[in-house]
């Protein structure tokens, strides 16, 4: 090792230790380690926890995610409120990379230290939603149920496993690295073990752009190209966030309906289908992601002079999903999907596919309407929805005295 290398190594080590040992001897704890210019790791992303809406909705999809549906095992309404309070406190601490509190010797260790002594945020978001079953008789919340919320519908091509459907509460955890997702999961579950139990879980990932643009799904097509512009807050108010006076309970304002669908892709079958056929099924080029009526990924599909589907088949996925007519404009939704890979089935086929996830202001006007248009599309031969659920993403948390779902109880 040369002198220069050695010095660089030590500088890196010092930077890494900076948060853990802000000064020898007794000191107040410093805040989390800030990435110094000489740090070998790139500056990390941190998303605000407090705000009118939860993070993890408009936040760009991270590289890693876990979706966990829980059933509530709390006794009553008060315990449910305590559970949501605990989730709020832990989610804030985790996403804001709070330094773990020393536990002393009368408590369990306050942190698994899976991420080492200097906490990181790593683009972590923790998003909490409630399923329709949380609004049954158990907690006296029946009258507060968002009016569209219900157990997930069964659609034409579905082969749903009840063990992997629905649930009282959904946690969506996303971060740039898998260890940060798992650290958050372990923390959240250990603090809530008596109050909720995992009903189903699926982990996902977002591959890097290949070679550029939107990430590809496991059918090899670029996915999520045509999402509405998340930076347009007026548009988000029209399409994503529940607004006051729309027939929803007052507490639900600022929340959103989330649909999660575990969609297995029959990749062995798909890989035996010619590329031209695949492209007609999707309506896009496989290599560039361009619509069949264009030449670049960013080109807007034009159906106005293609009434019989000569360029983009009428039953292609993108044309059914978003016909781009004034009548279907209000059915646009925000997709935030991840790929999944979970081993093999008994036939020896790969069990992989898409964790389709989307957010919308109105479940029926948006997701269900789109899903009806997609019924019978050629793509349905190559995919099998097996699980998922409908959830209502709670409005955001505004300050330390607030907690997730607080207005639900007032």
């Amino acid at each position: 090792m040369t002198g220069l290398d050695r010095r660089r190594f030590l500088t890196g080590a010092a930077a890494a230790l900076g948060g853990a040992a802000a000064g020898a001897g007794a000191t107040r704890l410093a805040g989390p380690a800030a990435a110094s210019p000489s740090s070998p790791t790139p500056p990390e992303r941190r998303y605000a926890f407090d705000g009118p809406h939860q993070a993890g909705v408009l936040t760009p999809a991270q590289a890693n995610a876990a979706f966990l549906a829980f059933d509530l095992t709390t006794g009553d309404r008060t315990e449910l409120q305590e559970l949501l309070h605990t989730l709020t406190v832990r989610a804030r601490a985790l996403t804001q990379a709070a330094v773990p509190v020393p536990a002393g010797i009368s408590a369990e260790p306050s942190d698994s230290l899976l991420l080492g002594p200097a906490p990181v945020s790593d683009g972590l978001t923790i998003t909490v939603g409630l399923g329709a079953s949380a609004f049954d008789h158990r907690f006296g919340l029946a009258s507060a149920r968002p009016r569209r919320l219900r157990a997930m519908d069964t659609f034409a091509n579905d082969q749903l496993d009840p063990m992997q459907c629905d649930g009282d509460l959904l946690l969506q955890v996303g971060a740039d690295h898998p260890d940060v997702v798992l650290h958050a999961l372990r923390d959240l579950t250990r603090h809530t073990r008596g109050g909720m139990q995992v009903r189903w879980r699926i982990d996902g990932f977002t591959p890097p752009p290949r070679p550029a643009g939107a990430a590809r799904n496991l059918l090899g097509f670029k996915d999520g190209i045509a999402n509405p512009d998340r930076s347009d807050s007026a548009l988000m108010d029209q399409l994503i966030w529940v607004q006051p006076g729309a027939g929803e309970p007052t507490w639900a304002t600022g929340g959103s309906y989330q649909v999660v669908r575990i969609i297995r892709m029959l990749v062995e079958f798909w890989d035996r289908v010619g590329v031209s056929e695949q492209e007609r099924i999707f309506g896009r080029r496989k290599d560039s992601g361009a619509p069949l009526s264009g030449s670049r990924e960013s080109d807007t599909p034009d159906y106005s002079d293609d009434p019989i589907g000569a360029q983009i088949p009428l039953d292609s996925h993108i044309r059914r999903a978003n016909p781009r007519t004034p009548q279907t404009d209000a059915s646009r939704l925000l997709r935030r999907s991840f790929s999944y890979d979970r081993g093999t089935d008994r036939n020896g086929n790969l069990d992989m596919g898409l964790i389709f996830s989307c957010f919308q202001q109105d479940l029926d006007r948006q997701f269900v309407a789109v899903q009806r248009r997609l019924a019978g599309e050629p793509l349905s031969d190559y995919i099998v929805p097996t699980g998922g659920g409908y959830f209502f993403t709670l409005p955001g948390v505004q300050g330390e005295s607030d907690h997730l779902g607080r207005w639900l109880f007032s």
């Binding site: 000191t27 020393p102 369990e108």
Partner: protein
């Protein structure tokens, strides 16, 4: 390397704070720790002695322990953290083979609201008493267990397998209720209650003995002639427990550790159904394990009172877990919500039991 890291850390320290590590040694215990304001503290403790030792951050008046480092080898440095409220504290150095030395008192000023609770250390003598009580309890249970395995062996000896299937469960539950003792039973535990784990031949392995081997035979149509030897060997092993246990040295800390490990084992071996060889009695075993936990917790209760703020919650969680596990039902007969409730109750309990071992860990006070 330690020296290099220290030098770098010194470079990082904010102005106004000591840039020296706090020393631990017979002659300089606590040197370098200067007053600071209330809140989270990080002390970099350097063992400047020639001996390894334990270092405790203690309340000056009460001796309550707020932070603990053990072991700390000679010449090494490690971090001790605590979130301290206003008050008077000092470092306690318990170096090997030397009397305990207390450092100078350090006063911390500032607002209250710190989170670390001080715990008055439990002495070895306190724990020895609980251990002896536990030993007496187990010893008292062994004759009844031996009568039950006797009956079981006699059932099989006369070919009455229906009676054997009926008498197997009470005998097995008596053993499972002992919970904390397995370490002290040593190799006999594997003879009495071993599973097929680690046996290359699995369920056909001739080295598999005890309750579960018998269970497998009784619930898989094996004949009394196949099982008579197994039952007799089980009975003999159970009878060897009394003399073995009388001479066993139970480490005092063992009882405190078992306070949560019995439930950990129930979750790992029983709730998973892993140890079901045909009787479908895992849930009853869970109930027996919880009864054993209650006994251990009861023996430790005098030590935990005043030291463990969640003791009442722990007892409430134990009662809730016992309710969830009550009733002679097969795990597979539970509905999804019953099963989730059972998992939740045992999960909540084991989190609350976890600190018991650390609180009851004997610490040097002299």
């Amino acid at each position: 390397m330690v020296g290099i890291v220290l030098a770098l850390l010194v470079g990082c320290s904010p102005a106004g704070h000591s840039d020296q590590p706090v020393l631990a040694s017979i002659s300089h215990c606590g040197q370098g720790w200067s007053p600071s304001s209330a809140g989270p503290q990080r002390l970099l403790i350097h063992n400047a002695d020639t001996r390894p030792g334990e270092v405790m951050l203690t309340g000056a008046a009460t001796g309550a322990v707020f932070g603990y480092l053990e072991p700390l080898a000679a010449g090494t440095t490690a971090e001790l953290t605590a979130d301290l409220g206003p008050g008077r504290y000092r470092l306690r150095c318990a170096m090997e083979d030397e009397s305990v030395v207390d450092g100078p008192v350090v006063t911390i000023h500032g607002p209250a609201g710190a989170t670390t609770r001080g715990v008055i250390p439990v002495s070895q003598a306190d724990l020895i008493k609980a251990t002896q009580q536990y030993q007496a309890y187990v010893t008292g249970q062994l004759p009844a267990l031996a009568r039950q395995t006797d009956t079981l062996a006699a059932d099989i000896g006369r070919g009455d397998l229906a009676a054997a299937r009926r008498d197997w469960l009470p005998a097995h539950l008596s053993y499972e209720r002992l919970g904390a003792a397995y370490g002290a039973f040593g190799a006999l535990d594997t003879v009495i209650n071993g599973t097929t784990a680690g046996l290359p031949g699995g369920r056909a392995d001739t080295h598999w003995t005890g309750f579960h081997r018998l269970e497998y035979g009784l619930w898989h149509g094996q004949s009394s002639s196949e099982l008579v030897g197994v039952a007799a060997a089980l009975d003999r092993a159970v009878r060897r427990l009394t003399p073995t246990f009388a001479h066993a040295q139970i480490k005092p800390s063992e009882v405190a550790i078992r306070a949560h490990e019995i439930t950990e084992n129930a979750i790992q071996f029983e709730l998973t159904g892993r140890t079901d060889y045909g009787s479908h009695s895992n849930l009853a075993t869970v109930a027996a394990n919880l009864a054993g936990t209650r006994i251990v917790l009861g023996l430790l209760r005098p030590l935990l009172a005043g030291r463990y703020p969640d003791l009442a919650r722990t007892y409430a969680a134990l009662a809730a877990a016992q309710r969830a596990a009550a009733g002679p039902r097969a795990l597979s007969s539970l509905t999804r919500s019953q099963r989730e409730n059972l998992n939740a109750r045992l999960g909540a309990l084991v989190e609350l039991l976890a600190p018991v071992a650390e609180i009851c860990e004997p610490r040097r006070t002299s």
